[in-house]
Each structure stands twice: as structure tokens, then as C-alpha cells.
């Protein structure tokens, strides 16, 4: 208990101290990592924990961005409320998509979610009147009780708490009976059903969670980039999010953070090689899925085990 309190206190101190040490742009990057991690957290839940491959995450992110923007432009709904409403609706869409898993799994599921992403992207592009078509649309500025949050420095105080709370929630979900049921389904659907788990309901719930997380992440990413470009919500982007999850490690929420940090920060170090960025990311995904399918996090835990093993031997 005291360890947890101490950990919480350290996190809070870092959270309030960071803005004093980091420049505006670095705070923006921290926000970008956090929002991307939230999107990828959705993949961790549905694919990493529940074992259902999903290429729908880019569509959820797009819906999560367009939803509040359209609600604000057409009905004057405040952006924060728009993001929440949209996230709940997209969660429901995710649940419906999860119902597909009754009949399909494996590569058919990958294909169906891929088609879903393609349809949603085409809908953005062809509904010119509502979404601005292929040109895209402006994301409205976040305003809460008269305060505007437009820069990395101010959004920091919104994005990080939201992402932090949701990560905590998912951490608890994974260690709850529901999360254990997800893991049981991943290992064997037949065995899970034999133990009395409602497989379809749980798979749908996992998709709903990934939709909800993806939509909130999409809303936050929209606030950060201030513009919604429909080309950012296609199958290519769905594979990108999958790559972040694989490189970080799909089995734990920590992997989502590690992967997002890698994918946001690597372009900074490779600024001279912008043209090769896509290739670098693709190669990272390929190398990791072949050599380290459980990502960077598993590398760290293996190292810890080696170090821990030595200590134990030393003690004995």
C-alpha cells in the first residue's frame, strides 16, 4: 500500500514538475505520445489481451476526431462533451463490430475489420457537406469553463490526466474477472466457453473498449494536430497502430506507452531521413514480429529476469 502511495506521489511530482523543465514543443510531444498510447491501448485490450485481431483502430480514431468536430460545427456542442459523446457512440459501434466475431475469426476477422476501416475512410472522403471531403476539416479548440487549451503547454494538463486515468482503468480491467476472461478466450475459446464464459459477449466488450479508447485517443490527437485529414484514417494507419503495439509489446499497457514513445521520438532523431521514415517503421514491425513478437517490454522483462536470477544465485 505504502509503495503504491509513494509511486503515486512520485508520478504527481513528475507531472507537475515536467512543464518547468520541458519546452513547449517537448510538452506537445509528451501529449502526442500519451494520445497515441491511448489509441494503441485499445489494440492491447482487443488484440493483445483478448486475442482478436483488429484493423479497425484507425477508423475508431477517425470517428473520434470527426465526431466532436461535427457536433461542434453543426450543433454547437462543446468539444469536451463532443469527445465524450462520440467515445460512447464509437464504443457501441465497436460492440456491434465485435458481434461479427461470432461468425468470423483469424484472417477473416482481419479482413472484415480492414473493410470496416476502408468504408469509414471512404465515408469521410465522400460526405463533403459534413466532413469537408478529401480536404478534411478543422478541429475546434478545446474550451472548458472559459479557458482555452490550444497549445502543447496547456493541453498537457488535459491530455495527460485523461490518458493516465484511462490507463489505470484498463490496468484494473485486465486484472479483473473480465480481463482474465479476455485472456482465457485468447488462449482457447473452447476452453473459455467450457468454463462458463460468455465468449461472444466478452469479445464484443473487448471491441467496445478498443473503440472507446481509440475514439478518446482520436479526439485528443485531433486537438493536438488541430486538423482532421481523412487520409490519416485508412488501412495504412491501422497497420501503423498495430506496428506501435507490436514494437512496444502487445501484452501489457506499458507496451503501448513504450511503442508510442519509440514511434513519436524516432522521427525526431531521423529528421535528415524523413523519406525513409515509413520504411524504418515497416522494417521495425517486420523485425519485431519475427524475432521479438512480444515487443520491447518483453526485452526489458527478460533482462530483469537475467539480473534477478544472478542476484538470487548471489544470495544463495
Amino acid at each position: 500500500m505504502t509503495v503504491r502511495l509513494l509511486f503515486g506521489a512520485v508520478v504527481l511530482v513528475i507531472f507537475f514538475a515536467a512543464p518547468h523543465f520541458l519546452a513547449e514543443f517537448q510538452l506537445f510531444q509528451v501529449c502526442l505520445i500519451a494520445a497515441t498510447a491511448l489509441v494503441v491501448l485499445g489494440i492491447v485490450v482487443v488484440t493483445g489481451i483478448a486475442g482478436q485481431i483488429s484493423l479497425a483502430q484507425a477508423a475508431f480514431v477517425g470517428l473520434g476526431g470527426y465526431g466532436p468536430a461535427i457536433l461542434a460545427a453543426r450543433y454547437g456542442v462543446p468539444v469536451w462533451a463532443g469527445i465524450m459523446i462520440t467515445a460512447v457512440v464509437v464504443g457501441a459501434v465497436g460492440y456491434a463490430l465485435g458481434q461479427l466475431t461470432l461468425r468470423v475469426s483469424g484472417h477473416y476477422l482481419a479482413l472484415a475489420t480492414m473493410a470496416f476501416t476502408a468504408i469509414v475512410q471512404l465515408a469521410f472522403i465522400h460526405s463533403d457537406a459534413v466532413t469537408g471531403g478529401a480536404v478534411g476539416m478543422q478541429m475546434p479548440t478545446l474550451e472548458i469553463s472559459g479557458k482555452t487549451f490550444a497549445s502543447g503547454g496547456t493541453l498537457y494538463y488535459v491530455v495527460l490526466p485523461v490518458v493516465g486515468v484511462l490507463f489505470l482503468a484498463v490496468h484494473n480491467l485486465i486484472h479483473s474477472p473480465v480481463g482474465r476472461a479476455f485472456a482465457a478466450i485468447r488462449q482457447s475459446e473452447t476452453a473459455a466457453a467450457a468454463m462458463g464464459i460468455d465468449v461472444l459477449a466478452h469479445k464484443s466488450a473487448a471491441f467496445a473498449a478498443s473503440g472507446f479508447l481509440g475514439a478518446i485517443g482520436g479526439g485528443l490527437l485531433g486537438l493536438l494536430s488541430t486538423y482532421l485529414d481523412p487520409s490519416q484514417f485508412g488501412i495504412t494507419q491501422a497497420v501503423y497502430y498495430l506496428a506501435v503495439a507490436v514494437v512496444g509489446g502487445m501484452q501489457s499497457p506499458l507496451g503501448a506507452i513504450v511503442g508510442s514513445a519509440v514511434f513519436v521520438l524516432v522521427p525526431e532523431f531521423l529528421q535528415a531521413f524523413q523519406t525513409y521514415l515509413g520504411l524504418v517503421f515497416a522494417l521495425l514491425l517486420l523485425v519485431f514480429i519475427v524475432l521479438r513478437p512480444n515487443g520491447l517490454v518483453s526485452l526489458a522483462s527478460d533482462l530483469l529476469r537475467i539480473v534477478g536470477g544472478k542476484q538470487q544465485r548471489g544470495a544463495a
Partner: protein, 288 residues
Amino acid sequence: MLAQVLVSSITAGAVYALIALGFVLIHKGTGVVHFGYGDQVTFGAYLVLIGQAFIGLRFDVAVAGALVASVLLGAIIYLAFMWPLRNASLLARIIASLALGTVLREFLRSYMGPNAWPFPFLLSSTSVPVGGVLIVPANLAIVGVAIAVLVALYLIFDRTIYGKAILAACENSTGASLVGVHVSTVFLLIWILASVLATVAGILVAPLLTLSPDMGLIGIKGFTAAVLGGFNSLPGAVAGGIALGILEALAGTYVSSALKDMISYAILIAVILVRPQGLFGELTLKKV
């Protein structure tokens, strides 16, 4: 009007059929669904372009060079990625094939630029009126090649001992190796064959579509065609491709050309849901 739409749609359908044949070949032969196949098709066309524009080869020599290069590519894909992953989870294999496609696409984007390239037709692209309908020889070639590939593969799979060995190796690799089938050689040959087929498809398709790194997205259409046809049936893949081409053309003419792609993706989801065995395939039930 309707006749012209149908004739043009059969060309598009043959394109889908050709790509669908590649999917089915790999799936039937090795049990893997290759999500990067569309990008491999694009890569094949670029191989010709690289030979022609950068090495300065004659077009026919460049085509031959591309075919040789694609043999290598198929061997590399199998030996470096699919063989090490043969015991990996389905999830890992799906992601790996997606990653392969992405690597090929991003390689082209980095080294050949994101813009479209002109690509020559193998045959004349001027249309000839036949009985009031305009027919393009180059398009006819696509239909012809698709049918020829279908017949060749069908004969190999259904009429030769090698085809039986391939099917056995895929069905039960332990059992097949017990009766003397060299499973890894069979899989290697399938990947090489599929890779060559991708290049052939790329060369035929590139002049019709725009040859850019994103041409590989056509893979989803090939996929839809394969699903329509049942994913394990070679004639089904061709029938599915033609059916998809006609459906799209009708949707494009009578509903809206903007909705054309959406309709074909919706068909994909609907077929997966309602008839996962495809319109022409048969259902295989796994008894536990």
C-alpha cells in the same frame, strides 16, 4: 450502354481474379493468407520500371529480369519470414504478412517517390469496335492471362501428383512428410510461383491503374474476389473476380461512382458474415 459496361467490367473483374488467384494459391498451398500480396503485385510492376528506366534495359528484357527477380523475392519471403514463423500463432503470421506488404510499399515510396509513374501496355491500348462494343486488346490480354493461369493451376492441383503433394503438405505437413513429401520444398515452390504470378499481374494491371506505391490497395479487391469465390477454390477466385467487377461496374453506373468502393467492401463484410465459405466454395467443418 449496358453491354459496354459489362465488357469493361469484365476487364476489371479479370484484374481482381488474377490477384485473387495469387491469394488462393498461397492459401491453398501453404495455409497462409498473405495480406501483403497487393503490394507484391505493385512491386512486380516497379521491378520492370526499375529495369527499364534506371538500368536502361529494353522493355522485354526488363520484363524477363523482373520475373527472375520475383523468383528471388518469393524465395526470400519464404526462407526469411514464413519458414521461421511456421509454428508462430496465426496472429503473428497475419501481422508478418501485413508487415511484408508495408515494407515493400514503403521501400517503393522511399526510393521511387510517392508519385505515379507511366507504365507501357504490353499490347495495343486502342479500342477496336466489335459488334457495337469497344474492345481493347490490352484488356483482353488480362482476361486471357487470368484464364490461362487458372487452367494451369487447376491442372497442376487437380491432375498431377505434384498437386496432390502440395495439398497434402498444406493439409497435414507431418503426415505428408511421412509419405515422402518434402514439405519445405513444396512451400518454397508455392511462394516462388505466387511471387512470379504477382509480377505478371502487376505488369498487366499497372497500365490500367495508376502505378504508384499505393496501387497495392487493389489487394483488398483481390481479397474480396477470393472471399466471394470461397478462398480455397481456384475457379471460384476467377468467378468471384468477374462477379465483383460486374457488381462494381453496375453500382458505379446506376448508383454512384463514389459509392462503388464502399459497396464492394460492404459486400466483403456481408459475404464473410453470411456465407464465409464464399458463393462458390464448400464449407469445411472441423470436428472437435
